[in-house]
């Protein structure tokens, strides 16, 4: 019979109960939730660039909606990341610390961009002067989310130190 590892939850019966009820929460929750900010942040930049290329304003609107999706889901990713760290990687871990700092920076930039676009819906439609900073913010989101997810990916799928031999099948 499967038993659940409760390490990291000593003295917290309500959380122990949650983990007993759904042991997958231990490792699945963060990898599942992070899909959303990763793709929404990418899509924000991607659809903004499509708008700039085509001039079709509906793509700019989609970019804004995806930015909203990214802003809404990033805190969930940060919180589940903290829980995953606590449950699965006890102690300090340099990669996780860096990932955490980058995530907060990503959230700050995304919230700034969202607030800017909400206050000025024409910020990308009239791309001149300071509005270029908004575009730079969107481009920074993609860069940041890529770097952050790279470190997360390296925890899940570490690169082999030495690849297997070739010519064997």
């Amino acid at each position: 019979m499967l038993t659940v590892n409760l390490k990291g939850l000593e003295g917290e019966p309500h959380r122990e109960g949650l983990l007993q009820a759904c042991p997958r929460f231990r490792r699945w929750l963060h990898p599942a939730v992070v899909h959303f900010p990763i793709v929404f942040m990418w899509a924000t930049t991607f659809f903004a660039l499509i708008y700039l290329y085509t001039g079709n304003q509906s793509f700019e609107s989609t970019s804004f909606h995806c930015l909203g999706g990214g802003v809404l889901t990033t805190p969930g990713a940060i919180l589940t990341g903290r829980a995953t760290h606590r449950l699965n990687f006890p102690g300090e871990n340099g990669t996780i610390s860096l990932e955490r700092r980058l995530s907060w920076l990503l959230l700050a930039l995304a919230v700034t961009a969202f607030a800017w676009r909400a206050a000025n819906p024409r910020v990308l439609l009239e791309l001149k002067g300071a509005n270029f900073l908004y575009l730079a913010l969107l481009l920074a989101l993609t860069t940041l989310v890529t770097v952050t997810s790279y470190f997360g990916g390296m925890l899940t799928y570490p690169l082999e130190a030495t690849p297997p031999e070739t010519g064997v099948s």
Partner: protein, 253 residues
């Protein structure tokens, strides 16, 4: 150190090296014993809250998202005395010869990462399509429906590459073994593609499919979009069960 000079660990000695305070953290793989106590990923003798030091992990590594090559990062400290090493892990990447093998050897990132990276996109886009559609119906804001359409387009575009990289990962890292999660994904992923493509074609042919409100065939269109949710969740679930298997190794603490 030559193999015949290496320290021989009895199963009992190995079990004692469980990483508990004051004790080393060793694991065995295919008869060889490694000191994982030097790795921060094995703090306290545990890895990912799932694998415990002091054990032979040959079988468990078959289910891991990485190959046994990661053990080359830690010192090899001996061999397991009992000559009962289980068969080689079947999840180890076996590189082909020729230019593909050279490419994969030069860029190991291409061995395991393309599929996990790519699947993010169809998963989120195909969940976002019904979500923004429902938001459009609830809020009466047509731009949400357009966003749903754009997400549907992106989801349909990203699904074939996700399937292809999944087949490649299965062939390279699991030797195309008929694993239950993979067999289910082989049915579910094409179904997902067909359903999402059908919804996309419908929306292209009738841009007002959802905009004129829910009546008549619009319900069927919405049904197609909503059907994406269980399909995506099921495909993602089986994928996660390969990456993060839940099994007897999840010992009580």
């Amino acid at each position: 150190m030559m193999p015949d000079q290496e320290k021989k660990f009895t199963p009992g000695e190995l079990a004692g090296a469980d990483g508990a305070p004051g004790r080393p953290a060793h694991v065995a793989y295919e008869g060889r014993v490694y000191d994982v106590g030097v790795s921060e990923l094995w703090a306290g003798g545990q890895h990912m809250g799932l694998h415990q030091a002091g054990a032979d992990l040959t079988a468990e590594l078959a289910d891991a998202p990485h190959g046994p090559e990661v053990l080359e990062r830690v010192p090899r400290v001996g061999v397991l005395a009992a000559a009962q090493a289980p068969p080689a892990s079947a999840s180890r990447a076996v590189l082909p010869g020729g230019s593909l093998g050279r490419l994969l050897k030069r860029y190991p990132l291409l061995q395991r990462h393309p599929h996990p990276m790519l699947v993010h996109f169809p998963i989120v886009f195909l969940l976002a399509a019904p979500a923004f559609s429902l938001l459009s119906l609830a809020a009466g804001t047509l731009s949400f429906e357009t966003t749903a359409f754009h997400c549907l387009c992106a989801g349909v575009l990203f699904t074939p590459p996700a399937i292809l990289t999944g087949l490649f990962t299965w062939w390279l890292n699991y030797q195309a073994r008929p694993l239950t999660p993979v067999r289910r994904k082989l049915v579910l992923a094409p179904t997902l593609l067909v359903v999402s493509a059908a919804a996309l074609i419908w929306r292209l042919a009738d841009p007002e499919a959802l905009r004129r409100g829910l009546k008549g065939p619009s319900w069927l269109y919405l049904g197609l979009l909503l059907a994406l949710v269980p399909l995506v969740v099921a495909v993602g679930w089986y994928g996660a069960s390969l990456t993060f298997p839940l099994h007897e190794g999840d010992r009580g603490g």
